[in-house]
Symmetry: C2
Subunit: 336 residues, 2 copies
C-alpha cells in the first residue's frame, strides 16, 4: 500500500482529494486570486467581535464549505487534523469544538497545511479512516497582535517583512475516488541556519524548504522537470530567491516551474513588501486557485512545500535563531 | 494489521515500547515518585539562563536518555512526534532541532503524551516507520510566566488550581519487539461544557476524559475491570471526582482502579492545591513510575488517558469557555 524511502512515503494506492474550499478577507479579495476563493468576506471580523474569534469563524466557515462541497456531514469525518498560528491553536480548537469527530491537533506554523495533508494521506492510506477533514487558517490582525505590535501602534514594516494572509483553506482527504490524488509525502526535519531576524522569515524558511525538496528528489529519483509546478508556501520574494540559490548550488534548478503562494496572493500594488505569509497563505492558494487549476485541466502533477518558521517572539527577543521546517506533498491528476 | 471501530483503533500487531525515560525538577524530586525518575535535577534552570530554554534543555535531556536506553542513535529514528505547552511549542522545536529525523509537531496541551503515543503507534503499525521518538515536557516557571503571572508577582493560587509539573517523559515506539505493547488508541474529540474558570482546568477536562473513556469501552466492548489501572493525566482532585461522577451516571465505575498522575506526583505536604498538571505530568509519571511498575511485574494491562485544556489566556479573558480533549492508549505486557 505504501513504500518509504528516506523521509518520503509513496502511496501505492493514493488517497483522493474529495473537495477543497478557500475563504479570504478583504485584502485577499483585492488581490490577483480574488476570483479563485469560494468566498471573500468584506468583514474582516467575520461576524465576531475579536480578532481571535474572527479567525475562528473564518476557519469554521471554510471547513464547513469543504464538507458541503464533498456532500458529507461531520458524522462522516473520522478525523479532523488541523492547527493554526494563534497561541494554543485557538482558532482551530474553538472552530473544531463544533465538529464531533476525533481530533488530532498539530502545530507546524506555516507548514501546517502540508503537515495536515501528509498525515491525512498517511492515515487514509493505512486504512485508519475513510474521510479526514484537514486544513488551517491565519488572520492578519490576530497574528500582528500576537507576534508583533498592536495594529493601533502603526509599527513600520521592514522591506523583508511579509504580510500575514487573512484566509483559510480546507480539504477532505478520502478513500472515495476523485481524480486528484496525493501520491507522496516528504516529511521535513527542523533546520536552523542561525537567522535571528524575525522580519526575515522567508530567509529562515528557505533552508528548510531546500532540505525537504532535495530529500524528495533523492528519495524518489525524480527531478524538477517531473512537476508542472513546484509550489512553496510563503517564502516570499527574499525566501524564494534564497531557495533557488541554495538549490542551484546543489545542481537542482527549480526556476522554470517554481511559484510561491506568498508571491501569488497579493498584487505588486498592495504594499505587502516581501509577499504574503501565514498558515492560510499556502492553505487558501492550494485549496482555491491551485485545485481550480487542476479542475480546469491546467495542472497534472505538482509538489507543494509548505514552510514554517517555528520561532517564538520571546525566544527571538532572547537572541535565539529561528528553527524552520517544510513538509512536501505531491498531488497528481489520475490519467482516466 | 489493525481494526477501527468508532474512534478506537485496535493494533492487531501491536507496536512495542522499546524504552522510556523521565526527568524531573527539584519539587518533583521532593515528591513520592522521586526515585522513579531517571534523573532529578536540583537546578530548575537545567543549565540555561531562561525558563524557556530550561524546558528545552529538560526535554532534550529526556529524549536523549530514551534513545540511550534503547541503544539507538538519532539516525535510527524515522520520526519525532512531540509538542509542549509553550507558545509555538518552543521547548520542542529548540530541543528537536538537534535531532536530524523527520519531525511532526503536535499540539494537544496536556493530552500531548497520549496524542504522540497514539500517532506513533498508528504510524508504526502501518509500516511507515521502524522507530519513533515521542514525548513532551512542561516547566512550572515557563508555564506560570506564559499562562498566569510572573513568578515575582507572587499571585495567590485558588484551591482548585493545579501546579504545573517541571518534568519530561519520552518513549521510543518501535517495530522491534519488547514485552510492552500499545494495543489500542482511542482518539478524543473536542468537548466543551462551558467551564470558564482558568483555575479549574481539571473540571473542564473531566468531561473530555469521560467522553473518551466511554467511547473506548463502547468501541472495544471492554469494561473498567479489564484494566489493572485506568490512569488519567492531570485531572487533579477536583477533576478526578467530577470524572467519577460523570462516569457513574453512565453506569461506568472506574473507582476501584483509577489513579490520576496529577494526584500521584506530589505529596499532600507539597502545597499544590488540587494536584499536578502540565504535559510533563502524565508524560513523566507514565515514562517513569508506570513503566517501572510494568517492569517490576506489578502491572499487566492499563489504559492511559492524557487530558488537555485547549484554552488560550486571551480568549478566556474574552469570557470564553475552555474546550478540552482526551486521548487514550492501552498498554499491555505480552504474556511471554
Amino acid at each position: 500500500m505504501k513504500k518509504k524511502k528516506g523521509n518520503t512515503i509513496q502511496f501505492l494506492n493514493p488517497p483522493s482529494i474529495l473537495s477543497h474550499a478557500a475563504v479570504g478577507g478583504k485584502k485577499e479579495g483585492d488581490g490577483p486570486l480574488s476570483s479563485e476563493f469560494d468566498i471573500i468576506s468584506d468583514d474582516d471580523y467575520f461576524g465576531k467581535n475579536s480578532w481571535e474569534f474572527a479567525e475562528t469563524s473564518l476557519q469554521h466557515k471554510t471547513a464547513m464549505l469543504a464538507l458541503d462541497k464533498a456532500k458529507l456531514s461531520t458524522n462522516s469525518i473520522d478525523f479532523v487534523i488541523s492547527g493554526d498560528l494563534q497561541n494554543q491553536c485557538t482558532a482551530t480548537h474553538y472552530s473544531m469544538r463544533l465538529v464531533p469527530s476525533a481530533f488530532l491537533g498539530i502545530y507546524g506554523a506555516c507548514s501546517t497545511m502540508c503537515e495536515s495533508l501528509a498525515l491525512s494521506a498517511m492515515l487514509i492510506a493505512a486504512d485508519y479512516a475513510e474521510n479526514i477533514l484537514c486544513g488551517t487558517s491565519s488572520h492578519f490582525c490576530s497574528a500582528e497582535k500576537q507576534f508583533r505590535f498592536p495594529l493601533e501602534y502603526g509599527g513600520l514594516r521592514t522591506p523583508t517583512s511579509q504580510w500575514t494572509v487573512t484566509a483559510s483553506g480546507f480539504a477532505i482527504i478520502s478513500k472515495t475516488e476523485s481524480p486528484y490524488k496525493i501520491t507522496h509525502a516528504t516529511i521535513g526535519r527542523i533546520v536552523d541556519k542561525g537567522i535571528t531576524d524575525i522580519n526575515n522569515m522567508g530567509g529562515a524558511m528557505a533552508a528548510a524548504a531546500a532540505d525537504t525538496i532535495l530529500n524528495h528528489f533523492k528519495d524518489t529519483g525524480r527531478k524538477p522537470a517531473d512537476y508542472d509546478l513546484i509550489l512553496t508556501g510563503d517564502l516570499g520574494v527574499i525566501g524564494s530567491d534564497l531557495l533557488k540559490d541554495i538549490l542551484n548550488e546543489q545542481k537542482c534548478d527549480i526556476y522554470p516551474n517554481h511559484k510561491d503562494c506568498g508571491m501569488m496572493i497579493f498584487g505588486k500594488n498592495q504594499d505587502v513588501h516581501a509577499g504574503g505569509s501565514g498558515c492560510g497563505c499556502c492553505a487558501s492558494v492550494l485549496c482555491g486557485h491551485i485545485m481550480n487549476e487542476f479542475e480546469r485541466g491546467n495542472l497534472k502533477r505538482i509538489a507543494v512545500i509548505a514552510t514554517g518558521a517555528l520561532m517564538n517572539p520571546t525566544t527571538v527577543l532572547q537572541g535565539e535563531s529561528i528553527p524552520s521546517i517544510a513538509h512536501l506533498v505531491t498531488i497528481e491528476k489520475s490519467p482516466n
